[in-house]
Every structure is written in structure tokens, then in C-alpha cells.
Symmetry: C2
Subunit: 72 residues, 2 copies
């Protein structure tokens, strides 16, 4: 799957907020009730994430989904 722009931007946003909150990938995965390697794959845009998992990550980061998705 060649990397798509929106998945790359989304991955960068997750990484940015995660670091802001001081979480490791594993800590964020645990908080979001996702597999511990999943966050790394999302940050590297290797997964086409679903809306329910976007919601889980937004809640774990205590941000709004719209904070994670900005579309020019």
C-alpha cells in the first residue's frame, strides 16, 4: 500500500500529541485499548485506520477527532 498523504499527516499528528502528553507508543496503545504495535504502524502510515480506532486514540489522547484530522 503506497503511503497516502492523509494517513501520513494523521500519523504525524498522533505522534505529535503523544509526545506532548509524554506517552510511549505502548502506553498510548494500552490507554486506547489497542494492540501495542498498532500505534507505531499508525504513526508510520502503514495502516488505514478505522473511525472507531480514531475515536479510541482521540479519547486516549484527550483530544477531539477533528484535532487529529486537518485537511487543507
Amino acid at each position: 500500500m503506497n503511503k497516502s498523504d492523509i494517513l501520513e499527516k494523521f500519523g504525524e499528528k498522533i505522534k505529535e500529541y503523544r509526545k506532548q502528553k509524554g506517552f510511549s507508543q505502548e502506553q498510548l496503545a494500552e490507554k486506547a485499548n489497542l494492540h501495542r504495535t498498532y500505534i507505531g504502524m499508525i504513526e508510520r502510515a502503514e495502516k488505514n485506520i478505522t473511525l472507531l480506532n480514531i475515536e479510541k486514540i482521540a479519547n486516549a489522547l484527550d483530544v477531539k477527532i477533528t484535532d487529529l484530522i486537518n485537511q487543507q
Copy 2:
């Protein structure tokens, strides 16, 4: 899969914009390059949509992704 709030709200938003634009479900699916029954399933919150398909639908409706996802 019991219907989740965010998928239901998302489905309602798609329907609202689709009707505003005067598209049938099949016309929107064709414009978004998705299977013709897919839009109906999304509107009924029967599918956990992916970010790439959210982007396809937003582009087909000529709206921003953030217009389709509002989180209280």
C-alpha cells in the same frame, strides 16, 4: 456489531450532505469510487469506515472531513 454513536452520527452526516447535493446513494458511491451498496451501509452505521474511504466520500461531497465528523 452494536451500532456505535460515532458511526451513527457519521452516517447521518453523510446522508444529510448527500441529500443537500441531490445525489442518490449509488451516485455518491460512483463519484467516490466505492461499491454502490457501501454508502447505504455507512449511512446505516453498519460499517466501521476507514480514513481513506472517509476522504473519498468527503471529496465526492466536496466537503472537508472535519465537516463530516463532529464530536461533542
